[in-house]
Symmetry: D2
Subunit: 349 residues, 4 copies
Amino acid sequence: MTSNQPIRAAVLGASGYTGADLIRLAARHPNIQITALIAKAHAGQPLGQVFPHLGSLDLPQLVTSDEVDWDSIDVAFCGLPHGTAHVEIAKLPERVKVIDMSADFRLRDLSTYAEWYGGEHGAPQLLSDAVYGLTEHYRDEIAGARIVACPGCYPTAVLLALLPLVKEKLIASEGIIIDAKSGVTGAGRSLKQNILFSEAGEGLSPYGIGSHRHVPEIEQEIGMAANQAVIVNFTPHLAPMARGELCTCYVQLPSGTTDADLRGALRDAYAASPFVRVMDEGVIPATQHVRGSNYCHVGVFADRIPGRAIVVSAIDNLVKGSAGQALQNFNVMHGLDESTALEQLPLFP
Amino acid sequence: MTSNQPIRAAVLGASGYTGADLIRLAARHPNIQITALIAKAHAGQPLGQVFPHLGSLDLPQLVTSDEVDWDSIDVAFCGLPHGTAHVEIAKLPERVKVIDMSADFRLRDLSTYAEWYGGEHGAPQLLSDAVYGLTEHYRDEIAGARIVACPGCYPTAVLLALLPLVKEKLIASEGIIIDAKSGVTGAGRSLKQNILFSEAGEGLSPYGIGSHRHVPEIEQEIGMAANQAVIVNFTPHLAPMARGELCTCYVQLPSGTTDADLRGALRDAYAASPFVRVMDEGVIPATQHVRGSNYCHVGVFADRIPGRAIVVSAIDNLVKGSAGQALQNFNVMHGLDESTALEQLPLFP
Amino acid sequence: MTSNQPIRAAVLGASGYTGADLIRLAARHPNIQITALIAKAHAGQPLGQVFPHLGSLDLPQLVTSDEVDWDSIDVAFCGLPHGTAHVEIAKLPERVKVIDMSADFRLRDLSTYAEWYGGEHGAPQLLSDAVYGLTEHYRDEIAGARIVACPGCYPTAVLLALLPLVKEKLIASEGIIIDAKSGVTGAGRSLKQNILFSEAGEGLSPYGIGSHRHVPEIEQEIGMAANQAVIVNFTPHLAPMARGELCTCYVQLPSGTTDADLRGALRDAYAASPFVRVMDEGVIPATQHVRGSNYCHVGVFADRIPGRAIVVSAIDNLVKGSAGQALQNFNVMHGLDESTALEQLPLFP
Amino acid sequence: MTSNQPIRAAVLGASGYTGADLIRLAARHPNIQITALIAKAHAGQPLGQVFPHLGSLDLPQLVTSDEVDWDSIDVAFCGLPHGTAHVEIAKLPERVKVIDMSADFRLRDLSTYAEWYGGEHGAPQLLSDAVYGLTEHYRDEIAGARIVACPGCYPTAVLLALLPLVKEKLIASEGIIIDAKSGVTGAGRSLKQNILFSEAGEGLSPYGIGSHRHVPEIEQEIGMAANQAVIVNFTPHLAPMARGELCTCYVQLPSGTTDADLRGALRDAYAASPFVRVMDEGVIPATQHVRGSNYCHVGVFADRIPGRAIVVSAIDNLVKGSAGQALQNFNVMHGLDESTALEQLPLFP
């Protein structure tokens, strides 16, 4: 970072939870000037009307994408839903860097995208510009990318826990079982009956068994690390909390490998990564201990069944699982300290 | 049931959650007269002081066990902690039937008990009088038993889901992975920091990984059904809700077996069981749909990984997982309709 | 009740929370046969699809009102929204008794209705058939009524606490301040952003300050008891829980009157009312102690400010505040024991 | 602030919630070096064992007060309980500035302290050194103080809402009714049955009616502003959330005064105060919109009862109600920008 010029940022999808959390963090970033807030359905409103907790900020009011002077924008954070995201991103001038929190540029294979996301990709020409934004594993690619496709919240938690182990062949890439639990913000801010307080509160259930759209993303990355096609079990559950995601991964070990080996490999992999904390033996990750922060806590435990282990990871789905990782990628793309504006400690209780 | 004489019941451990839920249900049982409420630390207090929600009941005040005229008691429900339960039960006259909600008489093997519960069993002579009280699988034994050892909450949910499948050899008894989630009442009413509202709320984490005391009970019953020793993975999680337990069981199928086969076998097994409901294909069990009731909802789902399936069960840990099942066993023991006083529908929302 | 003929009941608005709670309770009523479930938008679906927790019931599927053979119906419970309720009720044959849980027949004055509910009443001719269904205060009128207008949830809690005191002139009818707190089910099941789990959870705020539609109902009844027009402060708050309503009423006392006098008057007023429990001095009502039940707990406390007192009442808004009170009125209308099918004890925790 | 020397801080009571939140914020303060963490019962443990969410910090382990080299400390933040706090503070060298979050130095009158806090004050000689730390109202006094007694959480919310109005005689100082609602962290981290998740969750009730220890503090400050002794009603409620406090204040207006007048006076009073936000007409404060932040939102509403108004304020009890205000006072005491290290925006959802 050689200049003191602020980097001018637009936020697409400013009325959603990921948009809001991005604004919450970016507003305190010393190098960012939030220049445009885009939220079609709320255009003309001040941000504080849509998100009263952000009402103290002195920011421009919400506008449509067409109203933005894109010449004055350096980088666009995109919190739009998949399908819409790539359409809007395709309209942006090429000089605008894009940090996309949607699913639209995560999958490297167009037919996989079509299969899981209900139709052809509308901007296939941009895919080659896009890099998978799992910061800790793709720093170099991210540093030079025009488009960074931030991973889904679940894949972030799963891949941070498993990728180094697959790469080091410390776990089998077959038969991986991922039992995931998410807070309700993972379902976004759109109105659905199952996420009403009265329905989701004081209850827990799986959903999307075998069909959750984060599956292909997990399989893509684990497959690449394993150098072979991989099929995983991924069973998400909706838990009665707003934020937080916990992935309990059940894995098979090669003969002779122990949980301590896994812990060691994870420590090595993340030695230079400030946000991934590998827990000491016996210390159990919990979502409330990362809430509101960009941390990912990972723990490894021996299984009662010989030859198996359990790898547990916890993140805040809106921060490390979305807006925080987006900002982390922004920092990497702009040669800034990776932690800039992400130093907030978890809010507990 | 040939007589209209009320059956006189004592409740040991009336100041705990399982005791309270037993009283809540038994107070409306047409054949039960609650004659003694035992809670050592609260002796001398009215029940309404310990549990204001039960203050409308006209019941005797809390006493110590010594103060009870056991000649006037026909049956004792025991909601004491393990270790204490068998000591108190051993003191009771032999003519008093016992329905024990503790762990003390669940394990058939004394050395397993000693290993998991921290020491020798203090009343081994009573073990042969005891029957494992998983109602749907041991009705005949329960009908004639003096002591019924009601299963733990987790084992209830797991075994109702898996036992018929193991017996029919529709799933492998090796490599069973059980990812369980429980509400906070599962931890009881004693004061522990991790179950304070401020600590447990808005957060989720595993606990007792590989070491939870419900493991030997699950392995005992699955092992008996499989006719061989079995080791399972059992990983419980604490979820931010008061009641409810959901077990997500990951199982291997014999070649050619499908999720529909499993669903069919479960339906057959529970055709005459009013409280186990096998969900239609695609319908997902949820704890909020059984809350406050004696129902167990079970669903079967194909796994993405070929040759595997996912069996999900949901119960209210204090009802079907404890007090409700105890009352169900009471009904079986006394030749009453199994559903008596258990007809309450789930409380949703 | 001279006959053993079941009373055939229809439920209008069977897909809402009050409808569901009515079904939950009525399904266990020994004299009721639920004959028709009406839910326009869900016609053709089984109840278990709309409310999985009621899926064990063997009930007719949801239909439109037009599909019902009203000759086969004796009584209609109406859980429709205000405005719609009176339109549907006006269509029913005169021989069908109506227990309305909406607001449409609560206000005795048509202009007050028009002012607060946004327009002229569409069935003014029925108003003279309607009785205000606050059971404990209008038993005689309810017994002979064709239409019973069950009070709103807030008015139920407030009036049970204050009416006897106003009647006995033990509190001033001027300057009554009611700070009310409700769980989220009070807002119904329709999709609104502020009742999403992620918005309502872990937060608390007032709403509808000075403009909540339960105000005229409270003022009507207190005014009648006081024999003069009354204006009250009523400030409701949304609290992060599904069920439960607590009203903290701040009142002025005539010279020489004490909190003990108020407590005594309430005890006298409710001596024959099984569901209103006046707490002993120092015992504080709490919503969790009435959850799922038809109880109302009332407590009286001296204020630090001399000459004032605080009257606190707690109910379950869906039970005593709606479906339970409706069933209680049904019992009164049919000469049954007032408690029939309402004996369920509170579900705590 | 003329020097770049870090200010060396000790935290007394580092194992409680206020201590933890102080550390969370102070750890990111550019001028503070946390030099000692004192927590008697946990001495010898690393902070991350007591508060895993703070485990990423590189801080000294917990010690007893005796183990601290007080010569190396410039300022002590005290999060000890009342009664203990003044004993420990009295032991500190006079050159150590003290920012006390306990109640011990809030009351100016020793007999009032003795009456409400159960006995004589043990360090009366220090009272004259202490300043009441309601930052927005006592900046000058705080700037020069040795001991700053941070207000209680409730008094902070109440006084920010009412003090300017009392001073300007825009509300009567008699007959003020304060209905307050707090999250469970307000009760601290010590083990009590009523704050277990299973007891406090999904329920709401008043507590300490007429006897809460924050009463004398509120009366002291309102009395001083009114130049006469004042008695208020203060009725706190426990709400099922971890953080957040909402005070709904019912007040009488002098003839001719309107809610707009009150709003205007509050805006004037807080024009230079970055953390107090006076809401526009019709915008309602909510605790979830200040969570985790140092903001206080205040709204004014007309009452239905003529001549009255409702003033509502919302804070995070652990931040603006304790640790945040403590840090704000630290900034004032050291001539720093009042917002330093308090810029974190609210965490919503």
